[in-house]
């Protein structure tokens, strides 16, 4: 395992919060404010990790288990992804399923810890989270499987590594576009960004993720924020991995370019959040079904062309 791999794998864990910073900056720029500094998320994390904690007396150890498990699962699933286009140390045939499985584990952990509080708000959040999760899972499978079918590679690293420029010239290119688009929407849903949910509101109305973590405080909340930023990063790097066409001689330059790409995704999210309004809760499932349709199209194309 070369140093490059180590560096880039590690970079994900270090740079993930920065992605939020980028997004917020973008939004601020659109709003004409100058907004919080780019590294604001790091401040937040630091502050939270430094705080004490308040626990509701209805809760049990399940509540305290949620954040660490969620963070751990998300982190490992990030390790499964190739970083900077380099095969990940955890890569193996079928790691797609481990990747998805770990994400599901993280979701499960956070959801039950939310339900442990017995608050109707967090129950509601949990209910919505699992609802969207249940629909997001097959969409994710579809878009990933279209990649697998095109590249005949059973591991994420393999699949992404073999998506190179020549493929883009062939007529299977739409498959990548579709997969990328689906993943982008999935990213918005999974990280409950606009147009699915507004991370800044604290009104009961529309919250999915935010409302689940109302009762978490101190380090626990820090864990949660960090793991959600990791999740964001993870989707972004996946999308970049698909769209990034070049293959460089030196791994370093390639990796750096990819990181830049990820930051661009962050900007894109910011743009979306500034120019779009939040859709009504009942329409989110349609959004996800839209993802599935894209996935199905991708798979169909892939089959048709093979």
């Amino acid at each position: 395992m070369s140093t490059a791999v180590l560096v880039f794998q590690a970079s994900g864990f270090f740079l993930a919060p920065l992605l939020f910073g980028v997004t917020n900056k973008t939004k601020a720029w659109f709003a004409g404010r100058n907004g919080p500094p780019l590294i604001q998320p790091y401040y937040d994390l630091w502050r939270l990790l430094g705080k004490g904690a308040v626990y509701s007396e209805t809760t049990t150890w399940v509540f305290r288990l949620g954040p660490p498990v969620g963070l751990a699962a998300t982190g490992i699933s990030l390790l499964v992804l190739p970083a900077g286009g380099l095969t990940s140390p955890l890569a193996f045939n079928g790691d797609i399923f481990l990747f998805a499985g770990l994400l599901a584990t993280a979701r499960f952990a956070v959801v039950i810890s939310a339900m442990d509080t017995g608050s109707s708000f967090e129950g509601m959040g949990a209910s919505r989270e699992v609802t969207f999760g249940a629909l997001a899972e097959p969409a994710l499978f579809l878009s990933l499987s279209s990649l697998v079918l095109v590249t005949s590679q059973l591991s994420l690293s393999g699949a992404i590594a073999s998506l190179e420029w020549p493929l883009w010239t062939e007529d299977i290119a739409p498959v990548f576009w579709l997969a990328a688009a689906a993943l982008f929407v999935l990213m918005l849903v999974e990280n409950s960004r606009i147009p699915v949910d507004d991370p800044n509101t604290h009104l009961e109305l529309t919250m999915v993720h935010e409302v689940m973590v109302l009762d978490h405080s101190g380090p626990d909340f820090g864990y949660i924020l960090y793991s959600s930023s990791l999740k964001m990063w993870l989707f972004a790097s996946l999308i970049v991995g698909i769209l990034y066409p070049l293959s460089m001689a030196s791994p370093w330059s390639g990796g750096l370019l990819r990181i830049a790409g990820i930051m661009l995704i962050g900007v894109a999210v910011g743009v979306v959040e500034s120019i779009m309004a939040r859709v009504r809760m009942v329409q989110v499932p349609r959004l996800l079904v839209g993802c599935m349709v894209m996935g199905v199209l991708g798979v169909a194309l892939a089959i048709a062309i093979r």
Binding site: G52, S56, E57, A104, F108, G123, A126, T131, L214
Partner: protein, 662 residues
């Protein structure tokens, strides 16, 4: 072989002793349990010796009845199921002690403990029998024993109805099996399994037999739409019985199908695709109906339907691979299916035991009145959580491993360049994605609503606590969940020989490749254990961070709402509502929504109930129609002797004219 005979005999023997201890419930129970434990213990040892399939020996004892012979033998396939039966049997037997003693005032327990042991022995006999008649006998004895176990509380009408439904479905299934074996017997000239596997069947015959087996065994396994008895019988039965029935008894149907596959020669591809379709329907509808239930045990019952669906998917992938000569795919499918059989036995058994302990301590099955049981029932809660995560197919637990095998197999199949891509295979793992997601939702609901938060009916449950007889089995099962999840490459050794046995000779070669493949499983276990490790570290880190800081407790933050009551918690209905709304069209659940009106609403409410579509739309009308028809003909017996004489006369004349034709 003698070990096996002991394992078969001891439970029945001790059960019969229990039968004679009619008047003394305690003695009856202990005699029954001790026999079951001893028998199962021996059985487990024997099964473990035989999973690799070296020491396969026959035992043949002549039997007077027509076509009958007492012929038993053990091959890897049998051994896998024996392992499940004896393993779960042992633990549930221990559990049954304190559970049944609860009832010793009302009723005699000897019958129950006799039939429980009889059920265990008959299941074991079923999977080792090598003669059609012997098989059918074991099959029906199993059905009868489980019927009497289900109707343990026969004073309740709903229990009686449940038992009746179960009996009817079981018998209907058996009718197909009678035809199945009769035709096989015609082809083979005897009802000995060895002759069956030697058969060279015509394609038409093979297809007919396959469909018969699929229906007959499917009724026991609970494929939709033959599943209607499960959601009735499992809630009605005592929990240790539900655990055995759902954990292993319905798997005898799976065993039957796998065994049948070894008779019917090389399968055409569409058998596999049919199995995959059945699997998808059962899996998705099963989990959706489960999500819609509010009765904890009913929910679990529907989840059995879902898991049977997953197993069917595995078998489908296997058959597909077999038919295309992709033995690698076949191995993945079959080993995944069989590992899932074991896994489901473990976590579904555990879940039902947990539900039993909830029932035992609160006397309540309706989740909308439960909540906050984590505090009074810590062990039950913890183990239930593990089982819930496992059944949702989450790493690092065992459910994930078997589902991984199946999905990976289907992906391999889809990538195989020799054959055109099969949409069924893509459907398999995309469908399994959906099933997994829904399962997460469903068990977040089941676990969260029952064990977390605070009791919904206001007052804390009057807990009878958890007897040691409950804790031990549940902890053991939870440990197995974790073990298989963390060390999958050990578990897969249990099922590989059996899988390769079904996949045929080249299957055995592929099995050796699989041994190499267990490297991949090693990666899984590496990733999983890494995750566990990371979680532990994070917990420790938090401990370290919080050392010396203020860690206070307060009420749950209600967004400024001052007087939250426990009735305000999300109920199981409201938790499931968004998903149910999406799949309304399939579920046809009845919903009663009373939204709060006005500025100071007095009350509001939401209720939803989801009866089984199939029993409501198919079975009940059919039954009604039969009764109607027979009643219409009742006037034939009108009581007038003159007309009776006329019947005779007319019959005579008709026969004379018809047969002597002039």
């Amino acid at each position: 072989m003698n070990l096996l005979l002991l394992a078969l005999g001891i439970p029945v023997l001790s059960g019969s002793i229990a039968l004679f201890l009619y008047a003394r419930p305690r003695a009856a129970i202990w005699s029954g349990i001790s026999g079951a434990v001893a028998g199962c213990g021996i059985g487990i040892v024997y099964a473990l010796q035989n999973v690799s399939g070296q020491a396969a020996t026959d035992l043949r004892i002549p039997w007077q009845v027509p076509y009958g012979e007492f012929h038993i033998s053990v091959d890897p396939l049998s051994a896998v199921f024996l392992l499940a039966i004896f393993g779960l049997g042992l633990l549930t037997a221990i559990y049954s002690g304190p559970y049944l003693l609860h009832y010793r005032k009302e009723k005699s327990l000897s019958a129950s403990s006799f039939f429980f042991n009889l059920l265990l022995s008959s299941m074991a006999l079923l999977v080792v029998s090598r003669n059609g008649i012997l098989f059918l006998v074991a099959w029906e004895v199993m059905a009868i024993a489980s019927f009497f176990l289900v109707t343990f509380e026969d004073e309740k009408p709903e229990v009686r109805n449940a038992g009746w439904t179960y009996l009817i479905m079981a018998h209907a299934g058996t009718a197909f099996l009678l035809a199945f074996f009769a035709i096989l017997g015609r082809e083979a000239g005897s009802l000995d399994f060895d002759n069956f596997s030697a058969l060279q069947l015509a394609p038409a015959t093979a297809t007919g037999l396959f469909l018969l087996a699929l229906t007959g065994f499917g009724a026991k396994a609970g494929f939709i739409p033959l599943h209607v008895w499960l959601p009735e019988a499992h809630p009605a039965a005592p929990s240790h019985v539900s655990a055995v029935m759902s954990g292993v008894m319905i798997k005898t149907g799976i065993y039957g199908i796998l065994r049948a596959l070894t008779f019917l020669g090389p399968p055409p591809a569409w058998w596999g695709i049919l199995l995959i379709l059945i699997g998808l329907v059962s899996g998705i509808l099963g989990v959706l109906f489960a999500l819609a239930q509010h009765d904890l045990k009913r929910l679990l019952a529907y989840h059995s339907v879902e898991n049977i669906g997953i197993i069917a998917l595995g078998m489908g992938v296997g058959v597909w691979g077999l038919s295309h000569g992709l033995s690698f795919v076949a191995i993945f499918g079959f080993s995944g299916a069989m590992l899932h059989v074991l896994n489901h036995a473990v976590f579904k058994g555990l879940l039902f035991l947990g539900a039993g302990s909830v029932l035992h301590s609160t006397g309540e099955r309706n989740m909308d009145r439960l909540g906050g049981l984590m505090k009074p029932l810590p062990v039950t809660g913890a183990t239930f959580l593990i089982a819930a995560a496992a059944i949702s197919g989450l790493p690092p637990l065992n459910g994930f491993v078997s589902e991984f095998l199946i999905m990976y197999g289907s992906l391999k199949g889809a990538l195989a360049t020799e054959v055109p891509v099969s949409t069924a295979l893509l459907g398999t793992f995309v469908g399994m994605g959906l099933i997994g997601g829904l399962a997460v939702a469903c068990f977040a609901k089941a676990f969260g609503v029952v064990f977390l938060g605070s009791p919904r009916n206001g007052h804390a449950p009057k807990s009878h606590g958890e007897p040691a007889g409950f804790k031990l089995p549940m902890l053991a099962l939870a440990a197995v969940c974790a073990f298989i999840g963390i060390l999958p490459f050990v578990a897969i050794r249990l099922v590989l020989p059996a899988a390769s046995q079904i996949a045929g000779e080249e299957g055995i070669r592929a099995a050796t490749d699989m041994a190499a493949f267990s490297g991949t499983l090693g990666r899984i276990s590496f990733g999983s254990s890494l995750a566990v490790l990371a979680a532990v570290c994070l917990v420790l880190l938090r401990k370290a961070l919080l050392r010396g800081r203020i860690v206070s407790t307060g009420p749950t933050w209600g967004c400024g709402y001052e007087r939250p009551t426990t009735r305000m918690q999300y109920s199981s209905s409201s938790f499931a509502q968004p998903l149910l709304a999406i799949f309304r069209i399939l579920l046809r659940s009845r919903q009663a929504l009373h939204p709060p009106v006005g500025y100071f609403p007095r009350s509001g409410g939401f209720r939803s109930e989801t009866p089984d579509v199939f029993s409501a739309r198919i079975y009940r009308p059919l039954q009604w129609w039969i009764e109607r028809m027979s009643l219409k003909l009742r006037w034939l017996q009108h009581g007038r002797v003159h007309l009776y004489l006329l019947y005779i006369f007319v019959t005579l004349v008709v026969l004379l004219v018809w047969r002597l034709r002039f």
